[in-house]
Symmetry: C2
Subunit: 107 residues, 2 copies
């Protein structure tokens, strides 16, 4: 999975894993990996800045808590984030339809 291909689609993926319930950054990375069957191994340098971006956009809300002596920032999907996720899904349907049809191969 090359780096550029994910570009512009990461936000939707992050929102999607948070739909199942609040999760912290590290957990999100693991969830992405699990849900993609190992295909998605997002580096922390990609995910953490992206989460802050989503937080700034008010699509997710972050809270610090401590579990077993370790600090975690747990993110929760906001109402706006839920709406954004739906929009991302719709956008993905459009996008994949267009690319799929132009790329063709299978008619």
């Amino acid at each position: 999975m090359n780096a550029d291909s994910i570009r512009g689609h990461l936000d939707g993926l992050l929102l999607a894993v948070l739909e199942d319930g609040p999760l912290h950054g590290y957990g999100i990375i693991e969830a992405l990996q699990r849900r993609s069957g190992g295909a998605l191994e997002m580096p922390t340098g990609t995910v953490y800045p992206a989460l802050r971006r989503l937080e700034r956009a008010r699509w997710i809300a972050g809270d610090w808590d401590t579990v077993g002596g370790r600090r975690r920032r747990t993110y929760t999907l906001t109402r706006a984030g839920r709406r954004a996720l739906e929009e991302q899904r719709a956008e993905w349907i459009r996008f994949s339809g267009v690319v799929g049809s132009v790329l063709g191969g299978a008619p």
Copy 2:
């Protein structure tokens, strides 16, 4: 169609329209628009540099000719380009499968 979403997928689209036969830049832009039902309106500042990139990669070969007094650079898919296109198609299948499954919404 946002700007980033296309990123990393443009090469495949360009190669795909050239699969039907040689075409020049302007014609490629029109073909993309036609084949996407109007969804893809690629600016020249995106397409022309991309074509030169593909040419440098030897995936397409460009030739100047003149039609009706206007100079055109007509691009033809090379053998390597054909292989690259197949790879792009396979990559797209993988990528869209992963994103689709993680993004979910529809199980």
